[in-house]
């Protein structure tokens, strides 16, 4: 039995509460960092993180990238997408192939 968590600023993540996901409002990068580490230790399989916070938490995200759980998935916050999620796909391709071929 795994859990799904959402980390982000209050306005961006409040809606997910209605879906029954576990929401962890974090206004600053520091709060988000703590929440991230705490949730990674518990059995969260998926963590959704807003891109606005993810931009400041790159090392922490990289740390969990090669682990099986949790899967940290970036979602656009209420200010819109920063394109980090798409850039990450590009990075993955570059990592695997050695060049961006898409």
């Amino acid at each position: 039995m795994y859990r799904i968590g959402v980390i982000g600023d209050r306005d961006s993540v409040l809606g997910f509460q209605a879906l029954g996901l576990e929401v962890c409002p974090a206004e600053t990068a520091e709060e988000a960092r703590q929440a991230l580490h705490r949730m990674a230790k518990e059995n969260f399989a998926i963590l959704y993180l807003t891109e606005q916070l993810a931009a400041q938490l790159q090392p922490e995200i990289a740390q969990y990238q090669d682990a099986l759980t949790p899967a940290i998935i970036l979602i656009p916050g209420k200010e819109g997408s920063l394109g980090i999620g798409m850039a990450n796909i590009k990075t993955a391709v570059e990592r695997a192939v050695g060049a961006d071929i898409l």
Partner: protein, 237 residues
């Protein structure tokens, strides 16, 4: 360059030849693995991009409705209405093996199947925009789970491909040439030893022969001296 210390012996040569064969077979297998992983990875990445685009659009729509809702309602009531969710999600995770990489597969179950049940609040005090937001979120949620699965898969595959690629390159450009070089070095050395051995034998034979000839000559000389006068007279006549 023959690496620091290799014994130029026949045993070492046999051992190295065995290792080279293993390395070549390993190299071929790893290369096949890399190619297959790459194929899978490309499919996953394409799906990943499409899915991400869809999720981001869906979420932006949900956020837009949500922003309107939060403008129309007081923050307290907004929070209050969403505080106790009726819906809850149970997630099961299994693993699928893709070319020896374990990738997660998620199965989820919502507590209530009725899509109308997602609204955890009464409709009296909330604005319609909030309904829209929650509705949009619940619709994009399926895709979000799929996205989590695909994106994690692509990350894990990328990691595995990188690892395999490094191994293939290390074997192809370092290990195998090194071993070939060592094998060449040893076989040259062995040939060289063989030749020097032959030469030594020839030299020894020459020495022995020379000695024998000199012995014979000395003997002849002695004999000549003993019978010397006779021969001289003989010669004079």
């Amino acid at each position: 360059m023959p690496s620091t210390t290799i014994n130029p012996t026949r045993m070492e040569l046999t051992r190295l030849k065995g290792r080279l064969k293993t390395a070549q077979r390993g190299h071929k297998l790893l290369k096949d693995k890399r190619d297959e992983l790459m194929k899978q990875f490309m499919d996953v990445v394409r799906e990943n991009r499409a899915l991400r685009r869809r999720v981001e659009e869906g979420l932006m729509r949900a956020h837009a409705s949500f922003t309107v809702a939060s403008a129309l309602m007081s923050p307290e009531i907004l929070e209050q209405s969403l505080l106790c969710p009726k819906q809850s999600v149970e997630l099961e995770m299994t693993f699928q093996n893709v070319m020896s990489v374990d990738v997660p597969r998620y199965q989820f179950q919502t507590k209530s199947q009725d899509p109308g049940e997602v609204y955890p609040y009464g409709f009296a005090q909330t604005s319609g925009e909030l309904d829209d937001a929650v509705d949009a979120l619940s619709r994009v949620f399926q895709d979000m789970l799929k996205l989590a699965e695909i994106e994690k898969t692509s990350q894990l595959l990328a990691q595995e491909i990188e690892k395999t690629r490094r191994r293939v390159n290390a074997l192809e450009y370092v290990k195998i040439p090194q071993m070939e070089e060592s094998i060449r070095y040893i076989s040259m050395k062995l040939d060289e030893n063989e030749r020097s051995n032959t030469i030594r034998l020839m030299k020894v034979k020459e020495l022995v022969l020379k000695e024998a000839i000199e012995d014979r000559r000395a003997e002849n000389a002695r004999a000549a001296r003993a019978f010397g006068p006779a021969r001289e007279t003989f010669q004079e006549e």
